[in-house]
Amino acid sequence: MNHLLRSLAPISDSAWQLLDDEARARLTPALAARKLVEFAGPHGWTHSAANLGRTTPLQSAPCEGVNGLQRRVLPLVEVRAPFEVSLAELRDTDRGAPDTDLDALDKAAHHIAVAENIAVFHGWQGAITGISEASPHEPMALGDKPDMYPQPVAGAVERLLHNGISGPYALALGGEQFQRVAQTAEHGGYPLLEHLHKILEGPIVWAPGVRGAIVLSLRGGDFLFDSGQDLSIGYDGHDGDVVRMYLEESFTFRVATAEAAVTLTA
């Protein structure tokens, strides 16, 4: 048994399967960041920091005749989204009920996916520098008319090309912006989504938590996600009515090439 303590939960194997499947189904559409950035790991729960390959000079030394450097690392963050599941619901699942109430799990999955997206795309104060924070490019206005989106998206791609950042490029769209794109056809009926694909030569991703949109290069080596424990369901405790559980992961993220992304403001 590992730190997730899953074996201690009063849950049958089939109920565990249901919970894991539900979490996976809810998480995968919303995990925009790991669809676009490079993912290393998972390195496990004991993995605590990413190597930066950098050092800080030390002002003092233990004795004469030597000098020292201290390695700099980027510590991982732990993110946890707690939720509860009714024991009665799980017992009904074991009886074959097809409509188990897993709303709390669904919400927790959404929260942790949004947290991951925000940390990667916008940063986490004191812990992670996000893509939009790091980008040296002046943000471009996306505007509120979706049929005008190709202009700033093409402008962002041109700016990346101008800075020697090759494609293909991806577009991470906040929830509201994605909905606008998906339902918009330009003059003549051509779907906006297809027009944007042609500009980017890469994917367009629904990224809940993202403010506005971000155009970034997918050429590789620019954005690095370092996973410790990958997304998991753990057991916290239970009483006669509910099981207290959580979704958890540990990770960090760093931008290797800040110029490889352009922010589009809403």
Binding site: N2, L4, R6, S7, A9, I11, S12, D13, S14, W16, Q17, D20, A23, R24, L27, T28, L31, R34, K35, L36, V37, E38, F39, G41, P42, G44, W45, A170, P203, I204, V205, S227, Q229, D230, L231, S232, I233, G234, E249
Partner: protein, 130 residues
Amino acid sequence: MGFDQYHEPPDELPPVTRTFARLCASLTEEAEAIGWYEQRIAVESDPEALAIMHDAQGEEFKHFSMDLEALLRRTPAWRHIAQGVLFQAGDIVEHGDQAEAATFDSDGPGAEGATEDGSLGIGSMRGSAR
């Protein structure tokens, strides 16, 4: 160039399945190459040529292993069975039967989780978005 790694019309397949099929095709090709080198090594007598073939076959071992690991990471049931079979001493067929039964005859991996670390096994999703 053909696209015969797809058994179904590619346009009807989601990107994640197309990637899965490409990895399966790569795995097959690496296994074939390992077999071809094995045959060449068996009949070659020139020491220099043999050394090159051994080195090349080693590359194919690496490629095969990487393809396999990538596929296992994406397929919890396959991974679960593989964990019961690979690197285990004893009767391979027996291990296979037991691992298959543990995966499909039970209600799933249950409290152990689908992966070795108990995680949901999501990992990298790069390349899955269109």
